[in-house]
């Protein structure tokens, strides 16, 4: 088992003909992901001539879903059009939307989130590396060769830091159920808590690695959730211990966050919840072994 994506994932790629869309569609297909179609408005009817597979292109997500039975969509669309792409995928009825695009305005994401809350759709991202269920499906840009199937669930706010940890696990022979990059934007789809819950319910996942970073209070909230609801072991790393404090303009940040938001605050909260916190990413593998 695994969470969110597996060999039954039938994936659409929104923005399949763009530079990144093309490169990573080939990578996803090479990994074995079932990419069933692509969407690029005005290129419907053409074919994506992939290295290992031809994929039909559609003008709209709706027509793509109707023709291919896709149940998930990944968005490689520039920021200007990305929110529209999220709405379009939601309206076309896919179950899972993974948005890699960075630089989406916050107010646009607030509106999109509010819209998605009215339906049963899971959004991962934006500004994230996507998901990887080793040996089954890669929906995003996490390099496939650094992962291997196993029993550790990985969830992270950061992109490349996720690779770092997954790579270290694999080199030590520790496999993963699913690796989920949730993105570090102020407003995004699934949260640490959502993913922790999925891992808790996934019979194959034996323990979880959670990678956080300074800012916001998602890690503190996750710590409270872990203390109350998790039976599986959680190990963590928090990036930004040595980051200099940002200069503040208004008072609002200090009023809202108080002492939270710092790496130390997060580490304390996690330790109090029974989570083991590593000093550096390479150490995680020693801690969980």
């Amino acid at each position: 088992m695994s969470i969110l994506v597996d060999k039954n994932t039938r994936l659409l790629v929104q923005g399949i003909t763009g530079r990144e869309g093309t490169f990573h569609t080939n990578q996803m297909i090479a990994y074995g992901t079932n990419v069933v179609g692509g969407v690029t408005p005005s290129k419907g009817g053409q074919w994506f001539e992939g290295d290992d597979k031809r994929v039909p292109i559609f003008d709209t997500v709706k027509s793509a879903v109707e023709a291919t039975g896709a149940n998930a969509s990944i968005i490689f669309v520039p920021a200007r059009f990305a929110v529209d792409a999220i709405y379009e995928a939601a309206d076309a009825g896919v179950d899972l939307i993974v948005c890699l695009t960075e630089h989406i305005p916050v107010l646009d994401m607030i509106a999109a989130r509010a819209y998605l809350e009215t339906r049963r759709i899971t959004l991962v991202g934006p500004n994230c590396p996507g998901l990887l269920t080793p040996g089954q499906a890669k929906v995003g840009i996490i390099p496939g060769n650094i992962a291997m199937p196993g029993n550790v669930g990985v969830v992270s706010k950061s992109g490349t830091l996720t690779y770092e940890v997954v790579d270290a696990l694999t080199r030590r022979g520790i496999g993963q159920t699913t690796c989920v990059g949730i993105g570090g934007d102020p407003i995004s789809g699934v949260s640490f808590i959502d993913v922790l819950q999925l891992f808790e319910d996934d019979p194959e996942t034996e323990q979880i690695i959670m990678i956080g970073e300074i800012g916001g209070n998602a890690e503190e909230q996750a710590a409270a959730y872990i203390a109350r609801n998790m039976t599986k072991r959680v190990t963590s790393f928090i990036a930004g211990r040595t980051a200099p404090p940002g200069r503040r303009m208004g008072h609002a940040g200090a009023i809202v966050e108080g002492g939270s938001g710092t790496a130390d605050g997060k580490i304390v909260a996690l330790r109090q919840a029974g989570v083991t916190v590593a000093d550096h990413p390479d150490q995680i593998v020693d801690l969980i072994g």
């Binding site: 960075e102 509106a111 509010a114 490349t160 830091l161 690779y163 102020p186 990413p281």
Partner: protein
């Protein structure tokens, strides 16, 4: 992106928030002239991108044009928390202050909604109020599709115990501040203090506003309001190249892809006894050109004794990074040792390119950090 007080207040006023009359001056003589036009009784306020100006001595009351000139002479050129004062706002004094109120619109990440925050105990000590008597901070969340509802403003006004005759005006200010927040893609619009004047009217004496950087492409008027003087030149150059760069005090330059890994690289350098010279995230999909710029920025700091390049490829491809490094080194003549670690997408190709160029490489982050710390120690001795 942060705006200055004078810019923020103008935008607030466009949406109907009452502000004092005032103008910006960059010389004492100019401040004197503005004070005269405003009737003499003014406040001279430093315009810098940092809070707590009043407590740092950056705000001065003046009752005559002469005093305004003297205050401006004192404040202009001052250093406030590392920011040099280049301009002052000369504002008419409020006709007495009966009460200072705090009012802000910001984004509550946890609730995924904009939030209005208000307190009857506003002013320069609001953080203290929040820390010791959090019940004095009131919040309401805004449903984006609905906007601020009248009852929410009523709740704030009544919970703050504002005089009833001011409730209508307070409603209008709350709605205006939220409209200003929305229309300008702000991440913060803050009035502290919003005062009840001696004449019993509401007036916004201070204004702080931050704009969502991701929205600047559609907020072109605001993008032009950027004060590039407030930004160190290297950071400005980085921003224009799509690089996220912050200069620090140490001697190990860092070039990393992704903010999380960049912070981690700094953390690991510190852990092994080194001191990072900068934070640098070259972003996703970084091309050779960007790598060149990044390397040039890092090496322009004379403190740098070693450079650690840590790239874990997803969208960024290792071969592109490797080519960028070689290209950059062809342009920049440097004796500073470089330690490179590439992993992930096309890392093998990248490492081959680097090996041909006889560069020092590392496989793990800990290994790379230790090599960089050792190289910096050699370079410093």
């Amino acid at each position: 992106m942060n705006l200055h007080e004078y810019q923020a207040k103008r935008l607030f006023a466009e949406h109907g928030v009452p502000i004092p009359d005032g103008k910006v001056a960059s010389s004492p003589a100019e401040a004197r002239q503005i004070a005269r036009e405003l009737g003499g009784r003014v406040v001279v306020k430093s315009q810098v991108h940092v809070g707590g100006r009043g407590k740092a001595g950056g705000i001065g009351l003046a009752n005559t044009p002469d005093e305004a000139e003297a205050q401006a002479a004192r404040i202009l050129g001052m250093d406030i928390k590392g920011y040099k004062v280049r301009r002052v706002l000369v504002d008419q004094q409020a006709p007495g202050i009966k009460q200072e109120i705090y009012l802000a619109v910001l984004i509550d990440r946890a609730a995924r909604r904009p939030m209005i925050m208000a307190s009857a105990a506003g002013g320069m000590d609001i953080e203290e109020v929040a820390a010791t008597t959090p019940e004095k901070i009131l919040t309401v969340h805004i449903e984006p599709a609905l906007g601020v509802r009248g009852y929410q403003a009523t709740y704030l006004a009544s919970a703050m115990d504002l005089p009833r005759e001011l409730w209508r005006d307070f409603h209008k200010i709350v709605a205006s501040l939220y409209a200003c927040f929305q229309a300008n893609d702000a991440s913060l619009t803050e009035i502290n203090p919003l005062v009840i004047t001696g004449e019993g009217k509401l007036l916004a004496l201070d204004g702080k506003m931050s704009i969502d950087d991701n929205a600047l492409s559609r907020q072109t008027r605001l993008a032009e309001m950027r004060d590039t003087d407030e930004e160190p030149p290297a950071e400005r150059e980085a921003r224009l190249s799509g690089i996220n760069f912050i200069q620090l005090e140490g001697n190990i330059g860092c070039m990393v892809n992704g903010a999380g890994l960049a912070m981690t690289t700094m953390d690991v350098i510190k852990l092994f006894g080194g001191d990072p010279a900068n934070f640098l995230d070259i972003g996703g999909g970084a091309k050779a050109e960007q790598v060149t710029t990044a390397l040039r920025l890092i090496l322009s700091d004379p403190n740098v004794k070693a450079v650690l390049i840590n790239i874990f490829g997803g969208i960024t491809r290792g071969d592109e990074v490797a080519r960028g490094i070689i290209e950059a080194l062809a342009q920049i003549d440097t004796a500073v040792p470089l330690i490179v670690r590439l992993a992930g997408t096309n890392a093998k190709e990248g490492m081959e390119i680097l090996a041909e160029a006889k560069m020092e490489t590392a496989v793990t982050l800990s290994d790379a950090a230790q090599k960089a710390v050792a190289a910096a120690k050699r370079g410093a001795s």
